[in-house]
């Protein structure tokens, strides 16, 4: 399902860019270069801080859950540093020291790492909890059926599935 969805969707940015003529493309590139130069510290933070998100978007293009979870956690971490940079933008303008701030790197990348851990472990936790819930439910059902059989003589039919294959 996800694969089909991914196949049918196309990147609108790429299509739009292709439809531009060479002048328009040149103007756009020029405009971007100007923007990067003028907002260099922010762009730098985004480039460094969102590195895990970009990696996931590149390696797992179709795994949107992973992209969302890691990306959002990553952004949450990046926001702490981004707004700090925006506060003393004039001071930091053209300064590369920002990438040397280990704490901030840990916050940004650590947030992404937390997202990755959640993405990997939360489903296992959920499955484990659901297994124990179902097991408990089956025990309750069996106990009720046994009681009914005892009181009313109803035959407690065995499950139709192969119990060896059942996980509960």
């Amino acid at each position: 399902m996800k694969q089909n969805k991914a196949k049918t969707e196309k990147t609108p940015l790429g299509d739009s860019f292709k439809r531009l003529n060479w002048f328009q493309k040149s103007a756009l590139v020029f405009f971007l270069i100007i923007l990067i130069i003028t907002t260099f510290p922010i762009v730098l933070i985004l480039l460094v801080g969102l590195l895990p998100t970009m990696t996931v978007m590149y390696t797992d293009r179709r795994n949107y859950d992973k992209q969302i979870i890691i990306g959002c956690f990553n952004l949450a971490g990046v926001f702490f540093y981004l707004f700090g940079v925006m506060s003393d933008y004039a001071v930091r303008k053209g300064n590369f020291d920002i990438v040397n701030d280990v704490t901030m790197l840990i916050v940004m990348l650590g947030a992404a790492a937390l997202g990755l851990v959640l993405y990997n472990e939360l489903p296992h936790l959920y499955i484990h909890i659901s297994h124990s819930n179902y097991k408990h439910r089956i025990e309750k059902i069996n106990s009720r059926l046994e009681k009914l059989a005892e009181e009313w003589g109803i035959e407690n039919q065995k499950p139709e599935v192969n119990t060896d294959e059942a996980k509960f």
């Binding site: 859950d65 890691i70 956690f73 993405y119 939360l122 959920y126 659901s130 059902i141 499950p159 599935v161």
Partner: protein, 680 residues
């Protein structure tokens, strides 16, 4: 008629006496709170029709001299004529005072007892010899003849027959020996104990247990022969065997044969000829005898013997001339008779010698039928016998019977635990129907046409048992479940089951084919719906049917307490408890059933087991429980069979949660930092 007979007071009385009797009083039985039968003194000279005689004391009128005939259970008394006998007050008939079922302590069984007035003058024939001089005393002969024939006439008026008129059943009523009375006729089957000389040719040909009730003509013949013995002064032809007597009677005719044995005084010849006529229609009745003896003219003077054919028919190298001779020889030589029928020789003989075209046509049809299909020799010969001589009994595979006597023959077979297959074949054929069709005066019972259907139906309440109880109201129910008990009507069924119950019976059902067939015949169509349930394949339906039947019978006939039977039913009816689904309620019912079984009231058990309210509640609750169980089982199956799908669902949910959490975190971080940035 049987249902009219009230025997239950006797049964109740015997129980009372049984409880009152000490160890030393077991030789006595008090019947109907009045007649005390003393078993310690056996009156052998009054033994009759296989019944044993004992003196009886009337507690109300001790001057009366009475005796009891205790019937043998080997055969059965003629219940249907007992009320009539009790009502007849004829000077030439031994007076029946009372009857009822008793406990016969010498044989430890239940028997029917008939209480008669004691004939104080003793037996007329002592050691086969009589000392009345009738040869010279015409007046005495006239008086005795009219009194004996008068008894037959009284019986005829009531539509019953005596069938036990013979020399050793004649007694002197008084000490002076002036009046002769005819003794008992009800203690056993009709004509069962008759010596061959005193029975007509037709009756003699039949098996003695299957002679049937016959007609007044049979009785008149017996009176004739008995009178002849009285005149001669001894029991005639005592030493001759039954086949020889039969052969001679057929060959010579009864009167000629009798007169060849002993010389008959000339003045009595006409009377004896009339009474011993072998042609039933020509045999004299009371009026003819009276006219003859009173010197009045009789309008009819018939030939003595059957008309002989012009030409003889040879069977078994013997020449026979009359239809009855032919039938007799046919019955004795089945194979040869069959060949003669198939070859058409008997048809030719009828045409040329008897000159009876109608009979010849019937035989022709029978011959053609046999030539075309072939088949059962006995059946063909039996049919031929019926056509040729309709007043003769039916012979089929060794049994010779009159249709109204066949039930008693089957009864004896059952009693002796012998095979009844031949009887089943008879009922499965049309022989009885054909026999009745050929009779001029007799009419068959309404059910004759249904015998074949009853035999074909294997269900309970049908079969040969149903037929015998349908035909004969005299025979008791002979279910093995009754043990030594005597059951003549539905009134005694429950009591007999109650008394006969033992631990050995507890595993058996408290009914069988015989009991149900008997009850269907005696109680009529009102138990037809019970039969339908008893033939169901569902055991609980059968049990419920019996429970209802017996409860109704107890309410109608009593007795009020049947402790053994309710214990028996309590065990048998456990199957009904299973129609309730709730186990706890089942256990409750079992306990209650056990309690009620001790009360002896069947209707209480019905009320317990067939509580409509409880049954409805159980049904609704069970439906709900079934529904719940199905839902639970479906849910369980769903969990077990879709485990991988459920894992996927859990994984999706986890990722959804993580995504939301991530978005929330991002939003919160954004908002927090934005606010901090704005404030700074």
């Amino acid at each position: 008629m049987v249902e009219e007979i009230n025997i239950s007071p006797a049964v109740e009385a015997l129980d009372d006496l049984q409880s009152k009797n000490g160890s030393g009083e077991n030789d006595k039985f008090l019947m109907k709170e009045r007649f005390e039968i003393d078993f310690s003194e056996h009156l052998t000279w009054l033994d009759n029709n296989s019944a044993k005689a004992y003196p009886v004391t009337d507690r109300i009128d001790s001057t009366r001299r009475l005796f009891a005939l205790v019937c043998d259970n080997e055969t059965s008394p003629r219940l249907s004529i007992l009320p009539y006998l009790k009502s007849i007050d004829n000077p030439a008939l031994m007076k029946l005072i009372e009857y009822g079922t008793i406990i016969y302590s010498p044989e430890k069984s239940h028997n029917m007892a008939l209480i008669y007035e004691m004939p104080t003058g003793g037996k007329v024939f002592e050691d086969g010899v009589s000392h009345i001089d009738l040869q010279t005393s015409t007046e005495k002969f006239r008086k005795i003849t009219l009194s004996l024939a008068g008894v037959v006439d009284v019986f005829k008026g009531l539509g019953i027959t005596h069938r036990a008129i013979r020399p050793d059943n004649l007694y002197y009523r008084d000490d002076e020996k002036t009046e002769i009375v005819i003794g008992d006729c009800a203690a056993s089957f009709p004509a069962y104990h008759q010596p061959p000389m005193y029975e007509t040719i037709e009756s003699l040909m039949a098996d003695r247990q299957a002679r049937g009730n016959g007609t007044d003509k049979n009785d008149m013949y017996s009176v004739g022969m008995t009178l002849l013995s009285l005149v001669i002064g001894k029991d005639i032809a005592k030493d001759l065997s039954a086949p020889e007597i039969l052969r001679q009677k057929i060959r010579k005719g009864s009167f000629t044969f009798a007169s060849s044995l002993e010389k008959i005084p000339n003045q009595y010849v006409a009377v004896f000829k009339g009474m011993l006529h072998d042609n039933v229609e020509s045999r004299w009745g009371y009026n003819y005898i009276f006219n003859e003896l009173e010197g009045k003219p009789n309008s009819h003077n018939s030939q003595n013997h059957e008309e002989k054919a012009k030409r003889a028919l040879t069977i078994n190298a013997e020449k026979v001339y009359t239809p009855s001779e032919v039938v007799y020889m046919m019955y004795s030589n089945i194979d040869e008779a069959y060949d003669l029928i198939v070859q058409g020789k008997i048809t030719d003989w009828i045409k040329s010698s008897l000159e009876d075209e109608k009979l010849a046509a019937k035989f022709d049809s029978l011959t053609k039928q046999e030539q075309a299909s072939g088949g059962n020799k006995d059946l063909t010969v039996a049919r031929a016998g019926i056509l040729l001589c309709p007043n003769m009994p039916i012979r089929y595979k060794g049994i010779v019977f009159f249709p109204d006597g066949i039930a008693k023959a089957v009864f004896l077979q059952f009693k002796h635990q012998k095979n009844v297959d031949t009887f089943v074949e008879v009922f499965g054929s049309d022989l009885i129907k054909i026999w009745y069709q050929e009779q001029d005066t007799l009419r068959s019972s309404a059910n004759t046409t249904e015998f074949k259907l009853y035999i074909l139906r294997r269900e309970i309440g049908y079969g040969i048992e149903r037929i015998i109880y349908d035909i004969d109201g005299d025979i008791p129910c002979i279910s093995p479940l009754f043990g030594q008990e005597l059951v003549y009507g539905p009134q005694q069924v429950l009591k007999a089951l109650n008394n006969a119950f033992s631990d050995q019976n507890i595993s058996k059902a408290p009914y069988d084919r015989t009991i149900i067939a008997f009850l269907r015949c005696r109680m009529g169509k009102k138990i037809e719906n019970i039969l339908a349930d008893l033939n169901s394949s569902r055991e609980e339906l059968k049990a419920a049917a019996i429970m209802h039947l017996y409860a109704n019978m107890q309410n109608k006939y009593g007795p009020a307490k049947l402790t053994n039977l309710t214990a028996w039913l309590g065990n048998y009816l456990k199957i009904i408890i299973k129609i309730y689904h709730n186990r706890k309620y089942q256990k409750y019912l079992e306990k209650e059933l056990l309690k009620l079984s001790k009360n002896g009231k069947i209707y209480e058990i019905v009320e317990l087991l067939e509580n409509e309210h409880a049954l409805e509640k159980d049904r609704i609750d069970y439906a709900n429980v079934l529904n719940e169980a199905n839902l639970l089982m479906n849910e369980r199956n769903k969990i077990l069979s879709n485990s991988s799908k459920l894992d996927d669902e859990a994984r999706d949910a986890a990722l959804r949660f993580a995504s939301i959490l991530a978005i929330v975190m991002m939003t919160a971080s954004f908002a927090f930092n934005l606010i901090s940035w704005v404030l700074n």
